[in-house]
Amino acid sequence: MVDSLIAAASVIAAAVAVGFAGIGPGIGQGNAAGQAVEGIARQPEAEGKIRGTLLLSFAFMEALTIYGLVVALSLLFANPFVG
C-alpha cells in the first residue's frame, strides 16, 4: 500500500518536474531566438557569428530543462524511496 502510494507520487512528481522545468527555458529560448533574428535582420553579414552564439546559449538554457529531466528519470528508474 505504502509502496504503491510512493510509486503514484513519484510518477506525478516526475511529470511535474519535467513540465515546470520546460517553462522557464522555453521563454528564455524564445527571447534569445527573437533577439537573434532581430540582430540578423539588422546585420545580415554577422549571421554566422550570431548563429554560433545562439546555439551555444541554447544549450545552456536547455541544460535547465535537462536538470528537471534528470530528477524525473531518477524518480522513475532509480527511486531512492522504494524498497
Partner: protein, 235 residues
C-alpha cells in the same frame, strides 16, 4: 515481438564486473569507451603519421578539428596561456564527441551481452562525473600553477562576503557539467527508443539526426566550459 528487441531499452541494468566485494565496474561502459578511445587514437595516429605541405582529405579533416579546438582554447584562455591546456581541452572534446556519436552511429543493439546493453559511455553518470571532476581538478591545477598561492584571492573577489558563494561555486560547477552531459545523452536515447517502440520505421530518423547534432553541441559545450573555467582562474 521478437523483431522489437532493437528498440528495447534497459535503464539501470549493467554488466557488472566484480573487482572486489564492494567495488563493481560497469562492464558495458568500459568496453565501449575502450573501443571509442582506440578508434580515436587510431584515426589521429594514422592521420598525423604522414603530414604533407598540401594536405589530403583526411589531413584536412584533422586540421579542421584542430583549428576548432584551438579557437575554443584561444577565445576562453587568451593567446598567452592556451597552449599549455590545449591538449586537455582537445582530449575532452574528442572523447565526449566520440562517445556521444559512437552511441548513436554504431548499432550496438545487434551485439548481445548477458546483462545490460552496449550504448554511449556518456550514458553512464559515472563517465560524465569523472570528466566533470577532471575538468574541475584541472582548473585548480591551472590556478596553482600560474598564480601560486595568489589563487585564493579569487575567493574574496569582488568582496569578502561573497566567500561562501565562491566556495559553493566550486561544487556546483562539476555538478552542472555532469548533469548537463548525462541528461542530454540519456534524453536523446530515451526519445529515440520511445519513438522506436511506437513506430519502428522511418519516423525516428529525424530525431536521431537531431540527436547527432545535439550531442556534437554538447561536446562543444563541455570543452568550452572546461576551457572557460580554466580561463576564469588564470586571467
Amino acid at each position: 515481438m521478437d523483431t522489437f528487441f532493437l528498440s528495447k531499452i534497459e535503464v539501470g541494468s549493467h554488466l557488472y564486473i566484480n573487482f572486489t566485494e564492494t567495488l563493481h565496474l560497469h562492464g558495458e561502459t568500459i568496453i565501449v569507451s575502450t573501443i571509442v578511445v582506440s578508434i580515436i587514437s587510431l584515426l589521429l595516429i594514422l592521420g598525423t603519421s604522414d603530414l604533407k605541405k598540401v594536405p589530403g582529405t583526411f589531413q584536412n579533416l584533422l586540421e579542421i578539428i584542430y583549428e576548432l579546438v584551438k579557437s575554443i582554447a584561444i577565445t576562453q584562455m587568451g593567446p598567452s596561456y592556451y597552449s599549455q591546456f590545449l591538449p586537455f581541452i582537445a582530449t575532452i572534446f574528442l572523447f565526449v564527441l566520440g562517445s556521444n556519436w559512437a552511441g548513436a552511429l554504431i548499432p550496438w543493439k545487434l551485439i548481445e551481452i548477458p546483462n545490460g546493453e552496449l550504448a554511449a559511455p556518456t550514458n553512464d553518470i559515472n563517465t560524465t562525473a569523472c570528466l566533470a571532476i577532471l575538468a574541475s581538478l584541472s582548473y585548480f591545477f591551472a590556478g596553482f600553477k600560474i598564480k601560486g598561492l595568489g589563487y585564493f584571492k579569487r575567493y574574496i573577489k569582488p568582496s569578502v562576503f561573497l566567500l561562501p558563494i565562491n566556495i559553493i561555486e566550486d561544487f556546483t560547477k562539476p555538478l552542472s557539467l555532469n548533469f548537463r552531459l548525462f541528461g542530454n545523452i540519456v534524453a536523446d536515447e530515451l526519445t529515440v527508443s520511445v519513438l522506436c517502440s511506437l513506430v519502428p520505421i522511418l519516423i525516428p530518423v529525424p530525431i536521431m539526426v537531431l540527436g547527432l547534432f545535439a550531442s556534437s553541441i554538447q561536446a562543444l559545450i563541455f570543452a568550452t566550459l572546461a576551457a572557460a573555467y580554466i580561463g576564469e582562474v588564470i586571467e
